[in-house]
């Protein structure tokens, strides 16, 4: 039984490897794809170089991981002790999460100078939001009876946190830490894309210029394996500490459960807070006004300065191009993810074959392998759209499979009593149970899609917002760079809010218990 389980787990990856090798052999000489043998050869030849670069990247990722998670824990603690601040804290974290990392990199570099600072900061930015949201979910997922117990003895909020919530949230903390591990790696690597001196990302840039196919595939493989290992390592640690698996956390929105008026007030407070922090931060840190642009500078650049109409036109064009890639990719990724999940429920025999690969690949920051996609699928629309779709696909697939399994056993039993077939069960019991998961994935995938599209454009295609940002960074056009960051962030936050609002409407019908707080 045990050996058979292992064989089932290994079968998928082995098939994958064989398929990859066959494809590589078939395409030999086209400089598109390096097969496993070629990649292994390149890696053994350059083992020292890769190890040094990887060490640097991992070091930065680890520091960012620590910092980002510490920030998340502290913010969560503040939010639990002062629940009035929760809306604003969640909102601020979301804004940070929506920053286009690829453009934030050069801005940080211009302000922090050379060195590892920007990479570490980006790694921290990439993890803090997901960690915050998972932790908050955990701290709230406490049965009210446990809190009553604390209250009976006349104890308040702090005892609640100390005796009940903190421990109850531990599995969620680990779930967050697990998601954060590959995310930190991604942050560090994206930071290296934007002008660091050492690290895997720097190697990537170098080999893109040299069009070294084997090297690019080699680095992508290393990034993939390292991410999966980091994800698995945290999972194993969690199992040691918790004696059971961390929960599958479908990142519910921290602002959910607020009524319309409360949400509006939170939004206003959030806008004011962001503007104040932006403006005040620049003042307090005494940043160079040539490099650091405040809200007024950006407003001027977009509206009343002399070049405003020109910048607007450039931004608008780039925005339209990027959206043309991001939106189809996003929809395809979600659709295929949900569709495949449903198919898997109808054909359960293939689940053990696909699930391990899907869970493993979900952990991979696909963006770090962007060059390989572009290499293989070309610089046109196909490569970019596919990359976005793949980034969105894996989290959607895993979330949807999880959701489909959530259909309560008794409900399915009722269907069995009436001898309803698998299609009816899917339609009436499982799909409604899947919707919350699908929407959670859809919401969290908005910034992912934006990240994916901007990174590909930055690295390779020469079109869209990413390319505009790259150009602005290299020509020191900081006004344009800050404007682009501002607009992209605004777009991500608004789209996120739009999906969340759609989500609330749908869930109110299909899963009312999820909306009620």
């Amino acid at each position: 039984m045990r050996t058979r389980d292992w064989l089932a787990v290994l079968l998928g990856p082995v098939l994958l490897l064989i398929g990859w090798q066959l494809l590589a052999t078939g395409l030999e000489g086209k400089a598109l794809l390096a097969g496993p043998v070629e990649v292994l050869h390149w890696l053994t030849q350059n083992i020292g170089l890769v190890a040094r670069a990887l060490g640097r990247t991992l070091g930065n990722a680890a520091l960012g991981y620590l910092a980002g998670n510490l920030i998340a824990i502290v913010l969560t603690g503040i939010g639990i002790l002062f629940p009035k601040l929760l809306g604003v804290i969640g909102g601020l974290a979301l804004v940070l999460f929506c920053l286009p990392l690829i453009a934030t990199g050069p801005i940080l570099r211009s302000l922090m100078g050379q060195g590892e600072g920007p990479q570490i900061t980006l790694a921290a930015l990439a993890v803090s939001y997901t960690s915050l949201v998972t932790l908050l979910t955990g701290l709230r997922a406490v049965p009210s009876a446990w809190l009553d117990l604390v209250h009976v003895y006349g104890r308040k909020r702090f005892a609640e946190l100390w005796f009940v919530r903190a421990r109850a949230a531990l599995p969620y903390l680990f779930a967050g830490l697990q998601i954060a591990a590959p995310a930190a790696f991604l942050g560090a690597m994206v930071g290296e894309f934007t002008g660091a001196e050492r690290g895997l990302g720097v190697l990537t840039i170098r080999y893109i210029r040299a069009l070294d196919v084997a090297a690019l595939w080699g680095i992508s493989v290393v990034a993939t394996v390292v991410s999966i290992m980091a994800y698995a390592a945290v999972g194993m640690m969690a199992r040691l500490v918790l004696h059971d698996l961390p929960p599958v956390v479908l990142l519910s929105s921290p602002a959910s459960g607020r009524c319309g008026k409360g949400r509006f007030r939170d939004a206003v407070v959030l806008v004011v807070a962001v503007l104040l922090l932006w403006w005040g931060g620049i003042r307090l840190l005494g940043l160079n006004p040539f490099l650091a642009k405040g809200p007024l500078d950006v407003a001027a650049a977009l509206t009343w300065s002399a070049e405003a109409s020109e910048s607007r036109a450039a931004l608008f064009l780039a925005f339209r191009q990027s959206l043309g890639f991001a939106l189809p990719g996003y929809l395809i990724g979600l659709g295929v993810g949900a569709g495949l999940a449903m198919l898997l429920v109808l054909v359960p025999a293939v689940v053990p074959l696909i699930m391990p690969i899907a869970v493993a690949l979900r952990a991979v920051p696909i963006v770090t392998t962007a060059p390989v996609f572009v290499l293989f699928l070309g610089r046109g629309a196909t490569g970019t759209i596919t990359l976005v779709a793949v980034m969105v696909f894996f989290p959607a697939l895993v979330a949807c499979i999880h959701g489909l399994r959530q259909a309560p056993g008794q409900v399915l039993d009722v269907f069995d009593v009436y001898a309803a077939g698998p299609f009816r069960k899917l339609l009436y019991a499982r799909i409604p149970a899947m919707l919350p998961a699908l929407f959670a994935a859809a919401r969290m995938s908005v910034p992912t899609a934006v990240l994916a599209v901007t990174v590909v454009e930055w690295l390779t295609t020469g079109r869209g917002l990413g390319s505009l940002m790259a150009l602005s960074a290299s020509t020191s056009n900081y006004r344009m760079l800050w404007s682009a960051v501002f607009l992209v962030t605004l777009f991500s936050v608004l789209s996120h809010a739009a999906v969340a609002s759609l989500e609330r409407h749908v869930l109110r019908i299909y899963a009312p218990e999820q909306v009620r707080q």
């Binding site: 049965p143 009876a145 446990w146 009553d148 117990l149 604390v150 209250h151 009976v152 003895y153 006349g154 104890r155 005892a159 005796f163 009940v164 421990r167 109850a168 531990l170």
Partner: protein
């Protein structure tokens, strides 16, 4: 008047469900009162109001002359909830000693060990709640409620999931514990036998919203659990219960 006093105490939940219609009741201190009524009539709600876990919609509660909040702050109240709500990550023993920690009372391993023995859970000290049966969990919750030496003890169907024999034995073993301490005790139960054997007084409630339909003293002779006094009182309670149920229909 000491003890627990409800003055025009009523509760209507959000959404308009009236669980308790304004009640005037006094439970004198040091005595045990059983509360009996049909399921869903508002007994748990009444206990929650007295413990201050729920705000009254109208009226007021005084617990030993103070508000529930003040009384809780002095760790004077303990509740054994209908749902045992043990913390799953603590062993059974730690769940019980947790009550003393929450009550800010010094640890008392001897008392905890004695309570564990009395509820018949000796040997399960290091076991986590998930590995205990429903009845065992309830007994642990009962021990937890007693662990903090409360002045007011609110028991919400503490033996609901325990078999009849064990139930009788627990009643015999545990009740001296609070009776000898002069604890003011309210016991919600669906078992008329248990109500008679454990308490000095029985209050019978109507179907929701809870109103008092009978208020009976339990003569000492009935408490022994058999004999004519016991049977006549039991008949009386059952008659009142079915009459009020019929009225509601």
């Amino acid at each position: 008047m000491q003890g627990i006093t409800c003055i025009g105490l009523g509760k209507t939940y959000r959404g308009g469900i009236e669980a308790v219609s304004p009640l005037d009741l006094n439970f004198s201190s040091g005595r045990t009162t059983a509360l009996i009524g049909p399921s869903g009539c508002g007994k748990s709600t009444l206990l929650r109001l007295i413990a201050g876990l729920e705000e009254p919609s109208v009226g007021d509660v005084r617990v030993l002359g103070q508000s529930p909040a003040e009384q809780r702050r002095r760790a004077g109240i303990s509740v054994a909830f209908q749902d045992p709500s043990l913390l799953p990550w603590l062993t059974m023993q730690s769940n019980i000693s947790l009550a003393r920690k929450l009550a800010r009372k010094p640890p008392d391993p001897a008392r905890v060990a004695r309570l564990i023995g009395l509820v018949g859970l000796g040997g399960f000290e290091k076991v986590r709640p998930a590995a205990l049966s429903g009845g065992m969990r309830q007994r642990a919750a009962m021990a937890r409620a007693l662990a903090s030496d409360p002045q007011v003890l609110l028991l919400d169907e503490p033996f609901g999931a325990v078999d009849e024999l064990t139930r009788r034995q627990l009643a015999r073993d545990l009740s001296p514990l609070w009776k000898s301490q002069g604890t003011t005790t309210l016991l919600v139960t669906h078992s008329v036998d248990e109500a008679i054997m454990l308490s000095d007084r029985i209050v019978v409630f109507s179907p929701r919203p809870a109103r008092v339909v009978a208020d009976l003293e339990v003569p000492y002779a009935a408490e022994l659990g058999d004999g004519p006094e016991f049977r006549s009182l039991k008949d009386k309670v059952l008659t009142v219960l079915s009459a009020s149920a019929a009225m509601a229909k």
